[in-house]
């Protein structure tokens, strides 16, 4: 069975490791990035089927990552799930409204299995 591919962009070490372990255990090939700049490099290099994206990161935050990603021919359509502990406010939402992520999830309110389910749901509605 062909593995799915996911890019996880997350600056917090324990969270990045937990997500990586979970997805690797569910037969995903996982690519990692610790900030938006690395995320863009990894996305361009590996072209994952889906991206899990934190917002609050050093060097380049998630909203800026999205702006750059959507300017790319491949990147404009790749599904992205925002995975953050920031509460949505008008600044965040108006920024994301232009770049159209699939979901906005508060990390603290989701267990790892639930995040995998969301990813699978999005992949099933975005056939490669």
């Amino acid at each position: 069975m062909t593995k799915h591919t996911v890019l996880i962009v997350e600056d917090e070490g324990p969270l990045l490791q937990a997500l990586t372990t979970q997805f690797a255990g569910k037969e995903f090939d996982v690519f990692q990035a610790h900030n938006g700049s690395e995320g863009l490099e990894q996305a361009a290099k590996n072209k994952p089927e889906i991206i899990l994206l934190d917002l609050n990161m050093p060097k380049m935050d998630g909203a800026t990552f999205m702006e750059h990603l959507r300017q790319d021919e491949w990147g404009k359509d790749v599904p992205v799930i925002i995975l953050t502990n920031l509460q949505p406010d008008d600044t965040i939402i108006n920024s994301l409204a232009r770049t159209n992520p699939a979901y906005y999830l508060i990390k603290a309110e989701w267990d790892l299995a639930g995040i995998v389910d969301k990813v699978m749901e999005v992949l099933q509605s975005h056939p490669a």
Partner: protein, 307 residues
């Protein structure tokens, strides 16, 4: 897609066009996930009373505050939060939620893990727990200082010894940290002070130098000078400085744009705590910052009688 401004009260959105509203709620995953992420109740229902969506915070009772919307998918709600309240909420929510998430997720995985993987997961849990502990300690200390609650009897504190102990407690973040101390050997560098408060203040100042220097090596130069009835302790680094907002860095929860970009997970309490500690001792804290470095100076009277 949709322009949104958020309210802070539970709200019932009443949409006139049932078909369009139903389609909106059923197909717009981003909208419903955003509404689910809000900490207050949002219910969407048609004018006829059909409930189309309730977010996670919404119980069985419809929110009292209602807004009737004729044009959809535009959702316009009025925000009643000020900018600073919103920012404070974001800092607290993020700073507490993130390490809690680290503990929970890694504990979930640890339940089925063994060997080296289990060791790594337990290490992650410890790291997240430590981070949460630091944030909670800072919050409690900031509140105690704000309300004048924290009080230990003053003792005679040898500042050199205190600085040495504080340096040993720093989180070096895998960097090389060089700390140098200059002083006039003939000076008596002891003060009458709350030792633990002074330790917190020095720890925050030095940790800031490490956290906000982007190079692999951080140099912290500490100088101590005695001037009749007070001692000045200055901490200097070669970091990028605090930008134009350096005059605000001792405000509680304040984070300048430079700080947010370099270390987005800071809580904005470090220099507030240090400043309050200086004031508690009838001393003062000053900040001199430029793109070539920052100097934070703390002046403490040598004796309570001198303050």
């Amino acid at each position: 897609m949709f322009p949104v401004q958020f309210t802070t009260v539970p709200v019932r959105l009443i949409l006139n066009n049932l078909d369009t509203a139903t389609r909106l709620v059923q197909t717009n995953r981003l909208l419903t996930s955003i509404l689910d992420a809000l900490p207050y109740a949002v219910m969407i229902r048609s004018k006829g009373g059909t409930v189309l969506f309730k977010n996670r915070s919404c119980g069985d009772v419809a929110p009292e505050h209602s807004m009737t919307l004729d044009g959809i998918p535009e959702l316009e709600l009025c925000t009643s939060q000020t900018g600073s309240e919103r920012e404070l909420l974001q800092i607290l929510a993020h700073q507490l939620r993130t390490p809690v998430t680290g503990v929970i997720w890694n504990a979930e995985l640890a339940a089925d893990a063994s060997g080296e993987q289990l060791t790594d997961l337990l290490s992650n849990i410890r790291e997240s727990g430590d981070k949460l502990n630091r944030t909670v300690k800072d919050l409690i200390l900031a509140l105690e200082l704000q309300h004048d609650l924290s009080a230990h009897a003053p003792v005679r504190v040898d500042l050199i010894t205190l600085l040495r102990e504080t340096a040993a407690a720093l989180d070096l973040r895998d960097r090389t940290v060089n700390i140098s101390v200059t002083r006039n050997r003939s000076d008596d560098l002891t003060v009458s002070a709350d030792q633990e408060l002074l330790r917190s203040a020095f720890l925050h100042i030095m940790q800031n130098s490490i956290d906000y220097t982007q190079d692999n090596t951080t140099d912290i130069r500490i100088s101590l000078t005695r001037d009749s009835n007070k001692v000045a302790v200055s901490f200097s680094d070669d970091g990028p400085g605090m930008g134009e907002e350096s005059s605000r860095v001792t405000e509680r929860f304040y984070r300048g744009s430079m700080s947010r970009k370099t270390k987005p997970d800071g809580n904005g309490l470090g220099l507030y705590i240090a400043d309050q500690v200086a004031k508690r001792h009838k001393g003062k804290l000053t900040v001199d910052s430029s793109p070539s470095g920052t100097t934070v100076s703390v002046e403490i009277p040598t004796d309570v009688a001198d303050s």
